[in-house]
């Protein structure tokens, strides 16, 4: 086991988490249904005028994705924490940061990727044009991993606390604001005929930044929470 390379470790963690997620498919579906429900509530709340809905669509979809990813963050570490697996993982001689990165990735596959795939269908409900839908999808594709990674820091900090869910949102949502701004900004840019590269590049830059720093920060947060 000591000869496990970083890549092997990553694959092992991702495989295990995805397998666990597949055994409890209801959890994954709940998040997706929540996402669809939130998006569908907006036209009911603000009225069915298509002009307004088309303008609101990127913001609504992004905010709904943000809320849906908050919903699933509580489960990121809690199951492993409760049955003691997390403690064993921390005692393992492998890098905790890589392990955490694997968990972040599988969390994104389970809770972020379905939203990315579902978003264009919901965008059609808001009468979004095709090129806007593509930009929205690409923005979500780059942005939802950031939500999983920033969320993991919050999930690690609030591990095992009472009232963790609300607290988690209070900690993580302010940090996610730049992603929301650039993500819906890209869609608005393409709708008004501007270039989308600046907004998408900024999201990609945030993604790279998170990829480098958040696994390590989350590992530190786990160490604080577990001692």
């Amino acid at each position: 086991m000591n000869h496990l390379s970083i890549m092997n470790l990553l694959v092992l963690v991702v495989k295990r988490d995805l397998l666990l997620a597949m055994r409890r498919r209801a959890d994954v579906l709940t998040i997706l249904v929540f996402f669809i429900l939130i998006v569908s509530l907006f036209p009911l709340g603000v009225g069915p005028e298509m002009d307004m809905l088309r303008k609101m669509a990127p913001g609504v979809l992004w905010v709904a994705a943000l809320l849906a990813s908050m919903l699933s963050l509580g489960r990121l570490f809690s199951a492993d924490y409760l049955d003691g697996t997390l403690e064993q993982m921390m005692l393992a001689p492998q890098s905790l940061s890589v392990l955490v990165l694997g968990k972040m990735f599988s969390h994104w596959v389970v809770s972020g990727l379905p939203l990315v795939l579902m978003a264009p269908v919901l965008g059609l409900q808001f009468d979004m044009p095709v090129e806007a839908l593509l930009v929205l999808m690409f923005g979500l594709f780059l942005g939802t991993p950031i939500l999983s990674m920033l969320g993991a820091i919050g999930a690690a900090l609030t591990l095992g606390l009472r009232g963790g869910g609300v607290l988690l949102s209070l900690l993580v949502l302010p940090l996610c604001i730049p992603v929301l701004i650039f993500g819906s900004g890209a869609v608005e840019a393409v709708s008004s005929g501007l270039s989308v590269t600046s907004n998408l590049s900024l999201i990609a830059a945030l993604l790279m930044l998170c990829l480098v720093f958040t696994p390590w920060v989350t590992a530190q947060a786990l160490r604080i929470s577990m001692e």
Binding site: P174, I181, A221, E227
Partner: protein, 244 residues
């Protein structure tokens, strides 16, 4: 001469020092605030464009400046506590948070009062207002996380990590919101001269100084009660004459 630089990093010695320091900050705060208000209301002329309503900047600007600086200072203390495991640094960070949140709130509130006559709206989704609001949420997050963890040492470390992540994020949030929308007037005071009347400047700097003094005094008082709370089982606390 051999100076022990770390003498006052122990809560037991700092408790006494903080108590002695409080009047040196509290009294100047009150005096400077009175002077600043006098200059602001009676000496500074009426603004040509904004009339009398501009006078709210004498509290608005210092509150905004302090709300941002205090977050950085808080994150700095929190980082010290996390890295060197010094209890007092974490206590200072905890003591600073409510004052910072208060200044962020005052800044938003006075901004709204100023915005109504100037912009015709209590609130606009402008870059600085929005990032100040987010800053207030970051303070709330810090306080809430600290409050919800029972073990104070774990609370210190978890909140410290959050403060550090937050302070890295503050510039990113600021620029993202700035590019998103800008309506707020640009800075009047720049390092290369200013377009302000001299009395207005004086009033603002005096109230800024007063707010700094106030922040230090209140933080020292608060850190004293935090020390007492955390160290209530120790020998030296039970020997204090205000306890017995």
């Amino acid at each position: 001469m051999d100076i022990n630089w770390f003498k006052y990093s122990a809560p037991s010695t700092f408790y006494g020092l903080a108590g002695k320091l409080v009047p040196f900050f509290a009294i100047p705060a009150a005096v400077l605030f009175a002077i600043g208000m006098y200059i602001g209301f009676f000496v500074a002329p009426m603004d040509a464009v904004q009339g009398e309503a501009y006078r709210i900047i004498f509290i608005h600007v210092p509150a905004s400046i302090l709300s941002m600086f205090l977050y950085l200072i808080m994150a700095g203390y929190a980082a010290l506590g996390l890295i060197f495991n010094t209890r007092l640094s974490s206590m200072m960070a905890t003591a600073l948070a409510p004052t910072g949140a208060l200044f962020a709130f005052i800044s938003l509130w006075t901004g709204a009062l100023w915005g109504k006559p100037m912009w015709g709206a209590w609130w606009v989704w402008d870059a600085r207002l929005t990032s100040e609001l987010i800053l207030l949420f970051l303070y709330f997050g810090f306080i809430a996380l600290h409050a919800s963890i029972d073990d104070p040492r774990r609370a210190d470390r978890a909140a410290a990590l959050l403060a550090i992540v937050g302070s890295v994020n503050v510039p990113i949030i600021y620029f993202s919101v700035k590019w998103w929308n800008t309506l707020h007037q640009g800075s009047t005071i720049k390092f290369t001269g200013t377009s302000m009347h001299i009395a207005m400047q004086q009033a603002m700097f005096v109230t800024l100084l007063a707010c700094w003094m106030y922040a230090v005094a209140v933080t020292l008082v608060r850190v004293r009660s935090i020390i007492l709370d955390r160290e209530r089982t120790t020998q030296w606390v039970s020997e204090l004459k205000e306890i017995a």
